[in-house]
Amino acid sequence: MMGRKRLNARPTTLFGACLLLLSALVTLGCGPAAYASDDDIWARVRTSYFADRTIVEAADEIIQLSTPVRAEDAATVPISIHTQTPAEKGVFVEKVYLVIDHNPSPMGAIFTFTPDSGRADLETRVRIEEYTTVRAIAELSDGRLYMTSRFVKASGGCSAPAGKDQQAALAQLGRMKFRVKTPLAYDQPNLAQLMISHPNNSGLAMDQLTRFAIPARFVRRIDVSYGGKRIMSADVDFTISENPNFRFYFVPHGDGELKAEVIDSHDTRFETSLAVRGGAIGN
C-alpha cells in the first residue's frame, strides 16, 4: 500500500519530510485533505469493517443498488437494494452493508438476513448530506464480499434533521405499522413493509440564541421475525430518514405472526405484530 511505503521511506529532503507529514496527517484523519476524495473515506471504512478481505467490485450479478441521480429531498432519499444468491447449495446472502461516503456516519446500516427471508432485498429511505458515492456490499454466508455503488447528488439531508411537524412527530413516537401484500402465498417470498414513527435525528448542539436543543434520538436496532424465526435484522442510525420505513421479504410456511422489535438510542423499546392466517391478514 502506498501509505506504508511512504512511512517506511527515509525523507532525504525537506519536501520529502513534508510529504511524509501530510500523508501521516491524512492517515490520522486530522489534515484538511482528510475528506478530499471518496477513496480516502471508503478506504478507512473498508479497513475498519472488512480488514483486507477481497471485495469484488461492480458486482451487479450479485447485488444491485437503485438510487435517484438527484435527490428531491436530501432527508428522504429512496434507495433499493436487490441481491441474487449464486446458484450454489447452502450459500445465501447473509448481510448487506450500506455505506454513504460523505455522510457524518458513513456506515449507515447493516442488514442481516436468514434463509427464511427468501430474498435479501431491501428498500428504505436515507438522509444524504453531500454529493456522494453510495455503496451496497453483500456478504455471503461463506464470507465472500461483493459491492456495487452509485453516485447521488443531494445535500443537507443530515444537517436538516428536523421534520416538518415537530410536535406531531413526538406525539406519535414509537407507533409502528406492518403492511403486507395480500393474498399471501405460502412457501414463497412475500413483500412486507415496516413503518416506524420516529423523528430519527442526530440531534443538535444547543442553539445559543434561542436556547433550543433537539436531542439526538434515533432507532438503532430492528429485529423482525415470523413465526418465531428471525427474518430480518438491522443495525441502523440517523442515516435512515425520519419515520424509518423498510420493505423486505419473508417466506411464510403457514399461519404465524410477523413481529418487529425496535430499540432506539434512548434504549426505549417498541413492538408491533401482525397475525397471518390462511392467506389473509388479521389483527
Binding site: E72, D73, P78, R125, A162, L209, E242, N243, N245
Partner: protein
C-alpha cells in the same frame, strides 16, 4: 518595417480592445452588484406596502429577493412583515421604509421559518431602539433546527452577497392570537395549525381590512408543502370563509385572491388524491414521485423545482393513513 508597424498596431488595438471589454465588464458587474437602493414598493392599501419578490429560486443575481415582503405604517411606528432572503434585501427594505416614513420600525414580524422571509432580519437590528421580533410560537424551534442548514445553502446559492445574513429568532411568540398596535393601527396576528410549515402566522390590518397571508397563499408559483398537506387544505377551507378587503400572498400576484386560493386548493387536492391512490396501489415512493400530479405541470411556475419534493412530502405524510 511596415510589417513590424502592422503587428505593433494589431497588438495595441488588441490590447485596447481587451482593456475596453474588461472595463465594461467590471463596470456592469459593479452596477449589478451595487443595486443598493430601496426596494420598489406598491401600496396595496393605505399605509400597507408590499414588494413583489422575483418568481425564482435564490441565486447570486437576485440575492434572495424571491418572496413578497413589506411593511405597515401606523401613527407611532412601523411593522415590517418578513425581511427577505439576505441581509442585503433586508437593508433595501429598511431603506424603503425610510423613504416612505420617518417613523421607527417597532416590530419585525416573520410569517414563517423559510429563508426567503427571515434572512434580512439582521438589517433591522440597528438604531437606539431596535424593533421587537415576532413570530409563531414554533418559529424559534424551527429556526434552531434549520438555521445552520439554511446558512450553508445561502452561501452556496447567493454567495458573497449574503454576507452578514444571520438567523434572528423572535422575541415574542404568538400562541394563538396577538394584537400589536402601531399607534391607532391595530394588527391582529394569528398562529395557524401546521399547514405550509408548522409555524405559519398571518397578519390582519384592521384599518384597511388587509389580510397578509404570506405563504399560506401562493399565486403562480408552485405551492410548497413543508408542513402538512391535510393541515394546509383545512386552513384553506377556513380562509375561504373570511371576508378581507385585500389579501397579500407570499409569492406572486394575489389581487384575485379567491381565484388564487381555489387554484392552490386544486393543486393540493390533486396531490392528496393521487398520492393516496398511489399508496393504495402499492407504489413505492420513487414510483409515486414520477407519476403523481403531472396534469398540473403547465399551470405553475418552478414546477420542476418543487413538485417532486411535494410528492415526497405528501407520500411520507399519507402512508400513515389507515
Amino acid at each position: 518595417m511596415s510589417r513590424i508597424g502592422g503587428s505593433l498596431r494589431r497588438v495595441i488595438f488588441g490590447t485596447l480592445c481587451h482593456l475596453t471589454v474588461t472595463v465594461a465588464c467590471l463596470a456592469s458587474l459593479a452596477l449589478a452588484g451595487s443595486d443598493d437602493g430601496p426596494l420598489p414598493m406598491q401600496q396595496v392599501a393605505q399605509g400597507v406596502y408590499m414588494h413583489a419578490g422575483h418568481q425564482a429560486t435564490s441565486d447570486a443575481v437576485n440575492h434572495g429577493d424571491i418572496a413578497n415582503i413589506g411593511f405597515i405604517v401606523g401613527e407611532r411606528c412601523v411593522a415590517v412583515i418578513d425581511s427577505g432572503g439576505s441581509r442585503q434585501i433586508g437593508e433595501r427594505l429598511r431603506r424603503a421604509v425610510r423613504a416612505a416614513t420617518p417613523l421607527p420600525v417597532c416590530y419585525v414580524i416573520n410569517t414563517h421559518v423559510h429563508p426567503d422571509h427571515v434572512f434580512g432580519n439582521a438589517a433591522f437590528r440597528t438604531g437606539p431602539t431596535p424593533p421587537v421580533f415576532v413570530g409563531h410560537a414554533r418559529l424559534a424551534a424551527a429556526l434552531a433546527a434549520r438555521g445552520a442548514n439554511y446558512q450553508r445553502a445561502l452561501l452556496r446559492d447567493v454567495g458573497a452577497a449574503a454576507a452578514g445574513s444571520e438567523i434572528v429568532p423572535p422575541d415574542v411568540a404568538v400562541d394563538r392570537t396577538l394584537t400589536l398596535d402601531l399607534g391607532g393601527r391595530p394588527l391582529q396576528l394569528r398562529a395557524w395549525p401546521t399547514a405550509h410549515t408548522d409555524n405559519d402566522l398571518s397578519i390582519l390590518d384592521e384599518t384597511t381590512g388587509t389580510l397578509w397571508l404570506s405563504d399560506l397563499l401562493f399565486a403562480g408559483h408552485t405551492p410548497v408543502v413543508d408542513g402538512s398537506l391535510r393541515g394546509w387544505l383545512a386552513v384553506i377551507a377556513e380562509l375561504a370563509r373570511l371576508q378581507p378587503r385585500h389579501v397579500i400572498g407570499g409569492h406572486g400576484d394575489a389581487s384575485d385572491w379567491r381565484r388564487a386560493l381555489a387554484d392552490q386548493a386544486r393543486y393540493l387536492r390533486v396531490l392528496l388524491d393521487e398520492t393516496r391512490a398511489a399508496i393504495r396501489a402499492g407504489q413505492t415512493l420513487s414510483e409515486a414521485v414520477e407519476s403523481v400530479g403531472q396534469s398540473e405541470r403547465e399551470r405553475w411556475l418552478l414546477f420542476d423545482d418543487f413538485h417532486r419534493r411535494n410528492v415526497t412530502a405528501a407520500y411520507a405524510e399519507l402512508e400513515w393513513e389507515n
